[in-house]
Symmetry: C2
Subunit: 647 residues, 2 copies
């Protein structure tokens, strides 16, 4: 084919949805590297490790036939399921490729870390060991009575409930165990009976169901400590990146709703399976699960039809907390145990927000607090123990790396921190595990915007300065872009860049968040100086630089000592509810102190949003520290930015 014009083909990687154009004949691994898709390759594409397994989902005819190496590493079951090794498979036309969780970078930094809020250990699930005397003609009590009587005498437990199927199995459990059993109780329901003494093994699973990412924590309920944590992409992503698209899909019918429900439960089960394997805990030893998520995720997880969430007046089916048998939800923990889902607040303020309030303890503080939970939707809380205003901003998944050319998860090789020399425009970056860079994760995206602003690569409107005389700033197919890392430094065989489109995407996201915060402040009649503590939470972890987020105006400007970055606080809240009855009660009570603010209905919304698209903000008087910094760097806007008035 030498001499022919090389054709280009499109490769889409699921579940992240990354797209790339690449020369026909390239391998899937090359395409994945180019796209910044998260795919393991230990041997570097030599067909020697068998780790880069992928599934060709669409247009299977557009790839090369099975190579010898693939026959060596793939089972026949895998081959018939469409598995291929990415390094051995060339693309000859457009394809859609799925990267299974197993082929993702193992050393991914957990996007699950969050603040540890101390909480009194009082899990709902407890175990009691009893030794019974077998029946005699003088003591022919029923098996149930024998057990319950002993629990009363020995532990003072009364009014216990025993589920019907355990009653049915009881005679055999008692006799097979030689009348020595461990009783597993959840509140006052006996959920399991185990032969012998197993009182030292009680585990629980807490999850945060994000629109984009799932986080799962395996806890030892005797110590209350996390023993393993993991995360995965939400398998619902192929059905729509945002909640509205997924709701629309679920509205088609019960089949579609079930499909979405099974997808997310499958993801949570997969994370759990990994955690169990890692820790040696058995599935049957996990006796409870708690879950948080935004209202749409909450509804989809519970198979509640989200139709009315999408239609004005955006009514949820269920706001209260609910405990459902794990089997009915499909979660693979002990089959007689429960999944406890925390309450939501409103159509667009979910259980994840309740969890953030739990984790940050805003509900019991005297200080006035502002909390931003950054995600595909960013929920904002303003208040204290007396009252809390909350709102939700459709910020989109940009800061989670989606729709960003070289955005990626915080895994090995992700650029996580960036500094740009304002004089030379030389870039200094730090990567996870000090590996060669292969993409940019959330914390670095915040940095990049701030650093580009400070270095004059972009101006207050976010426009790249094409006049800048630097090889790092160039125009590619008409779109300006800034090179963060040169091809020779990266592991993807290409430069890592931030494009003008990326900047716009991030700008809209940060504007949405700032609008929410500003609106709540106006609504409550307070200004920046009235606020005592600012919490920044979000799945992109504890790595955000609050100075950078201030410079870009992701939120109003506060003295840095007031800002606390709390990581995945929603996950923290889910864990707190898992280990504490009182926390569950609090979660339910929080509702009474909440006032939901529908942003779109606020008269100032449009103006505030426009003002917030500037970096840091149209009215620079609200960002005095940042103004001072920009002035010092000579980046203070030469012309005043037109500020839209708020009626």
């Amino acid at each position: 084919m030498k001499g022919c014009i090389a054709m280009e083909v499109n490769v889409v990687f699921q579940p992240e949805g990354k797209r790339v154009r690449i020369k026909s004949g390239s391998t899937i691994l090359e395409a994945a590297n180019l796209a910044g898709a998260d795919l393991t390759s230990i041997c570097g594409g030599k067909g020697k490790c068998g780790k880069c397994k992928v599934i060709v989902e669409k247009e299977k005819g557009n790839v090369s036939s099975i190579a010898e190496a693939e026959n060596r590493f793939l089972s026949s079951a895998e081959i018939s399921a469409g598995y291929r090794l990415a390094c051995c498979t060339s693309v000859m036309g457009n394809v859609v490729v799925r990267i299974p969780e197993e082929s993702r970078t193992g050393r991914q930094r957990l996007q699950v870390e969050g603040i540890e809020t101390p909480v009194k250990l009082e899990p709902l699930v407890k175990k009691y060991f009893v030794k019974l005397q077998g029946p005699t003609l003088k003591d022919p009590r029923s098996d149930v009575d024998r057990l319950l009587d002993e629990l009363l005498v020995q532990y003072g437990l009364e009014n216990l409930e025993l589920t019907y199927d355990l009653v049915q199995r009881l005679p055999f459990i008692l006799r097979d165990s030689g009348w020595e059993v461990t009783v597993v109780m959840r509140d006052n329901e006996i959920i399991s009976l185990e032969p012998g003494d197993t009182t030292d093994r009680i585990f629980g699973y807490a999850v945060d169901i994000g629109t984009t990412k799932l986080a799962g924590y395996l806890l030892d309920l005797i110590t209350g400590k996390v023993i393993a944590a993991g995360s995965a992409m939400n398998p619902q992503i192929p059905y729509g990146e945002d909640v509205v698209t997924r709701i629309t899909y679920a509205m088609k019918g019960i089949k579609e709703l079930k499909e979405l429900q099974r997808a997310v439960v499958g993801g949570l089960n997969q994370i759990l399976a990994d955690l169990l394997e890692k820790t040696g805990v058995k599935r049957e030893e996990v006796y409870e699960m708690t879950a948080v998520g935004n209202t749409a995720m909450h509804h989809l997880f519970l198979k509640l039809n989200p139709k009315f969430l999408a239609l004005s007046p955006y009514t949820p089916v269920l706001r209260k907390e609910i405990s459902v048998n794990a089997k009915r939800v499909g979660v693979k923990i002990n089959s007689r145990s429960y999944v406890h889902v925390l309450p939501v607040i409103a159509g667009f303020v979910g259980a994840d927000n309740v969890a953030v309030i739990l984790a940050t303890e805003i509900y019991k503080r005297s200080e006035l607090c502002l909390a931003l939970d950054v995600g595909t939707n960013t929920e904002i809380v303003l208040g204290n123990k007396d009252e809390m205003l909350v709102c939700s901003c459709a910020s989109g998944p940009a800061f989670e790396g989606a729709h960003i050319k070289h955005g990626m998860r915080a895994a090995t090789g992700a650029i996580e921190k960036v500094r740009i020399d304002p004089e030379t425009l030389e870039v200094k970056y730090w990567t996870i595990d000090d590996a060669k860079p292969r993409g940019i994760c959330g914390s670095a995206l915040v940095d990049v915007l701030a650093e580009m602003l400070k270095a004059g690569v972009i101006d207050a409107t976010g426009t790249m300065n094409k006049e800048l005389n630097s090889p790092r700033l160039r125009v590619c197919e008409g779109v300006p872009e800034f090179v963060l890392a040169w091809k020779k430094e990266t592991s993807i065989g290409d430069d890592i860049v931030v494009t003008q489109r990326d900047v716009r995407e991030l700008q809209l996201a940060k504007a949405a968040m700032n609008t929410g915060a500003m609106t709540l402040m106006r609504k409550k009649g307070v200004t920046e100086k009235d606020i005592d503590i600012v919490f920044i939470a979000g799945a992109f972890g504890s790595y955000i630089d609050p100075e950078s987020s201030t410079v870009i105006g992701m939120h109003p400007e506060f003295p840095l000592e007031k800002v606390k970055v709390v990581g995945n606080a929603a996950g923290t809240g889910a864990r707190m509810a898992l280990v504490s009855k009182t926390c569950r009660k609090t979660a339910e009570e929080i509702h009474g102190k909440i006032r939901y603010v529908e942003l779109a209905a606020e008269p100032c919304f449009q103006a505030e949003f426009m003002n917030s698209t500037f970096m840091p903000y149209a009215d620079l008087n609200r960002f005095p520290r940042t103004s001072e910094l920009l002035r010092k760097l000579g980046r203070y806007p030469k012309k005043p930015i037109p500020t839209l008035p708020c009626k």
Copy 2:
């Protein structure tokens, strides 16, 4: 074939288990009449009514081929299911025939009538009608909150539970009904939501699961009244007539246990289906069921393995009351409703006995009471509000007509009352509906024994006096029998007789009962004169003559004014529990006052049983009134009966 020796074949009728030998070539209807099996035939065997449908279960090759009339009355589905018309089908060899419930005598007297014990109406299931305001942007409360808030405001209902599947359906129920719904509550659980106002329709189903017979009552839970009642044979009979045989069958494995469970639930569902059809009540309007039965029936109904009931020390799995979702049990009432099964007392004293104690109110009386619940097992209670001794006697199903040559259910044509002239031995009998007699039901069997004793047809040992000079007393194939009704008077084309074997069968049954009563009295240290009230309960209804039962010594002798015949008191107790929360609480509390007596472990048991086989009893001093009567009639035993001493 004229001139040939007519061959005889055996026909067995299920579910009653009746057997008959009949000439080859006879119709199944003729065999049924001869056997006294309960089979409807309106046209009298002319092939004109199509009512005598039966199913040939075994040896289908031994019957004649389908006749024209059958093609007219039977659907092709019925024909392929093995249905035949009994009057058109001749038997050429041994066959087993099932008489489906639909072909049983419609005018059967309900064997379900029992005492009405007044009870305060406080059913667990209640309905509340609410009109809701739909959601607005100003009031976007969740659907669940909207409903629960209204129930609190309007009816003061708090802490309500809403099952997961109702939460899932709620948004559609509310919107489809225009926000006007009726909430069906059981205790504090919402079990159903119905469009519009249905508060005037609340029904419940109470059942008594007897070893031989099932009784079912459909109640209006608003008035507390029975609106229809029905009964059927227990479909478990083919698996064994007595509980031990059925337990043995169930012990074979889970498949067999399920089979027995499905059989009895099928029977209860069939009775209910009939009651619903009769009353126009819909299945979904039946919101609760209560059930009583002996401990073996209780275990089989709940699919609890009865293995340990059959092995010493006869331990039940469950003694306490239990409420189980109707669907899990398989009962076809409202699918979200519950079946409440009353508590049992011990391995051989069941929930039916608890129900009898409820119905007779022994548990709260100061008077000393004796209660006999006559059935395949007869349970006896002796006591009052302070303490109750109970025991169970394996009396067998003889008084229910089983194993009695011409025994039958209390249906049209059953002889229900008998008088024999002591001089002429002429018989006077009364039949149900004044129809031509076709068999003898329970109440008449008690009469027959007493009348034959008084007339000298049998002596105190139960032996028929072959010396008696009467055409009614004859010997047939070596077995003496007494003719109650001549062939010309009956509808079965044959004489209706009581055989010496029948007498023995009944004698053993009555001896078992008397032994139980005598043993409890000895145990408690009381005699007949200490007892204030005697209750005689039993499925054979309110028709027993207490004078007759005294004469045969079915129980100790008491002044007649002390004896109350209370019919199916177990059914009464089930109905009381259906309409009253307090009754359920009482049923659970009764256990604390009960002392179970294991008859077989009593040193006197054997001697007492031997003494009780005599009629009325070996020691005639204990039956002064009966002695006086027999003396007057010249039937007082010439030689004293040897009384076995009680150590």
